[in-house]
Amino acid sequence: MEQYDTALVLSRVMTSGIVMSIEKNDKELPSLERLLTKCSGRLKAVLVNSRSAAVHAALTGQDIVHGDQAVLPAGLGDRTRAFVDWLGVEDAAGPGSTSAPAFDLLTLTPANAADFARSAAESTAPALVVDLTGLGFGPAGAVLTDDERIWARGERLKIFGAFDLRTMWTQQEAEAGMAPGVQFNYRLSPLVAACARMALAQAGSRTPATTGGSSR
């Protein structure tokens, strides 16, 4: 994304005065959710403030918690493995395992953002973790899923998240076991969300380059 475009987006959101994720009239977070679900073909998105938060939401969303085992995606980096271990979740897959993983992980950068839709379509796991940090606006991530329960549980991992906002901040639950016992403040800033959305939208609309340079 060009610096001018980032400047425009940041100025627009700051001028609106709405920079808090807990504002009912925030439009930036829902807009990023819509773009991510549209591009990925998944029904629901949980926005969070980092890659590790997204991994946490993907596991908690499936009720994979401390003391449980999960098949982790092949090629998962040491840092993310260390985080899963810190959550108390063991890797269920041995070397060379062909079992389906609990989640897939996509790391987006300006260089590969244009391929997001295609990469997301290849994911078959119930939850797709998307690390948006590489887009350049600070730590950011998302969990994309078709499963309403994964989304609902993932949302509830955030204190004062979208779920709490809808219930006017009560934590009363109609269904037992929906709210995670430990909650983190994984909320994403609307300013970061707005920039990430612009970067993804521009990448998605970019005409593929031909030999000899950019066709933009």
Partner: protein, 439 residues
């Protein structure tokens, strides 16, 4: 383009309005509907320019420069910028040496993140009552809760009023415990000349955009009193692959805001003083208690009720509170509850599943209690007899607005008959009998 610029100015106060019929019963509201919005955070052209300049800098440097500047303002030894207040509290506990299964004593009246940060550190929160005057953690209650497995005291400078750090430090020193501040409400709050965040062995502080010192959306900062504590926190996130980093966008926003923080603090203090004077005249309402030598940051402004002062002693105070809430809201002054039950009565601490399968509560079952609201009588009394102004006074509101707030309190206090009528007509319930609210 939408904008937060107000659509029209608020009219100057008129003494005749105070004597007019209450808005609840058809009179004109003290703050008309179309001018009720308070702008927060205030975002200036300088903030936008600072943000645009930051875009051209190294993102890590933007965050580091911000953290250094704010650390210096607070007077803390070391600082670690984070993504949120909860993560800052988590890292403050880790830096202070809290280990899985340890007990950390926390007030049962705070935002739930205080206790959730203890669980994030895989320790067990032990809840205690608050002081009946300051609503901060009671040093006596903390002393009584210390066991061999206690590792830290974690007072909260609730609403922006510093806790009794001297008394709490006495308890922590006697038992060899760490003192970890939750300074999430207490930006610029002080005891003497020492700023909250620099008073304990470590501290966590939320910098989300609804705080007195707001960043661009979400953010926090952990402070440490020693290099060792700082390094423990840094090593912890690295070893465990936890990404608690702050966005450069949040930091750049904060860099602009920090320059104006003393100005906004001064307006909040002026408004709090003005309102306190008016409340004292009413008899029914009492302003927040501020101990000598403490500087209150007024992130929230909790107002007490004295029904006996207006011949309403025969009514339950919680019913008077509900009626007052209804009358003030109709006048355009949304005085709220902000919490209606002690934190251990919220779902996560009733079920105590933690990270899953009861962890870390299973590490220390002796520390776990099934609490009822009545276990915390001072909190219960406070919840039943107080209302709170939040953003309405946190925002650096103009003189005519705070004067109108004062007039709204005067108007309601002058009508005990209306309070009595509502109590008779409505079916109010005690605060803790409603669903637990996060805020």
């Amino acid at each position: 383009m939408i904008t937060d610029f107000p659509t029209s100015p608020l009219a100057l106060p008129d003494p005749a309005e105070t004597a007019a019929e209450l808005a609840e019963f058809g009179g004109a509201a003290m703050i008309p509907k179309e001018v009720r919005r308070t702008v927060f955070p205030v975002i200036t052209k300088e903030d936008v320019f600072t943000m645009l300049l930051a875009q051209r800098s190294d993102p890590d440097k933007v965050v580091a420069d911000f953290a250094q500047e704010y650390r210096s303002y607070v007077g803390a030894h070391r600082a670690l910028p984070t993504a949120s207040g909860t993560s800052s509290l988590h890292l403050a506990l880790i830096g202070a040496g809290v280990q899985p299964g340890d007990e950390v004593i926390v007030p049962a009246f705070t935002f739930i993140a205080t206790a959730q940060a203890v669980v994030a550190a895989k320790a067990v929160p032990v809840f205690v009552d608050v002081d009946p005057m300051t609503y901060c953690m009671s040093a006596e209650a903390a002393q009584a809760a210390v066991t061999e497995r206690t590792r830290a005291l974690m007072p909260v400078h609730v609403h922006g009023l510093p806790a009794d750090v001297a008394a709490l430090r006495g308890v922590s020193d006697r038992h060899g415990l760490a003192l970890v501040e939750d300074a999430s409400h207490a930006h610029s709050a002080k005891i003497g000349d020492q700023v909250c965040g620099s008073l304990g062995d470590a501290a966590g502080q939320s910098l989300m955009a609804d705080k007195n010192f707001p960043l661009g959306g979400e953010g926090g900062i952990a402070f440490f009193g020693s290099d060792d504590a700082y390094q423990r926190a840094v090593d912890f996130v690295e070893r465990n692959g936890i990404d608690y980093g702050m966005s450069w966008i949040a930091a750049a926003f904060g860099a602009g805001q920090l320059k104006r923080l003393p100005y906004y603090d001064a307006i909040r203090a002026r408004n709090a003083r003005l309102l306190a004077e008016a409340l004292r005249e009413t008899g029914l309402f009492t302003p927040p208690h501020v101990p000598e030598g403490h500087t209150h940051a007024y992130n929230m402004y909790r107002i007490g009720l004295a029904p006996e002062a207006v011949d309403l002693a025969d009514l339950p105070v919680w019913a008077v509170k509900e009626a007052v809430h209804e009358l003030l809201t109709a006048e355009g002054v949304p005085a709220r509850e902000w919490q209606n039950t002690p934190i251990p009565c919220h779902l996560p601490f009733r079920e105590r599943t933690g990270f899953g399968n009861g962890y870390p509560f299973t590490l220390n079952p002796a520390a776990v209690r099934d609490h009822r609201p009545a276990d915390f009588p001072n909190i219960l009394a406070m919840l039943e007899s107080t209302v709170v102004l939040c953003r309405e006074l946190r925002s650096p509101v103009e003189y005519e607005r705070v004067t109108r707030y004062a007039d709204a309190f005067r108007k309601v206090a002058a009508r005990p008959d209306a309070i009595r009528k509502l109590v008779a007509e409505r079916e109010y319930v005690r605060p803790h009998e409603k669903a637990a609210r996060l805020g």
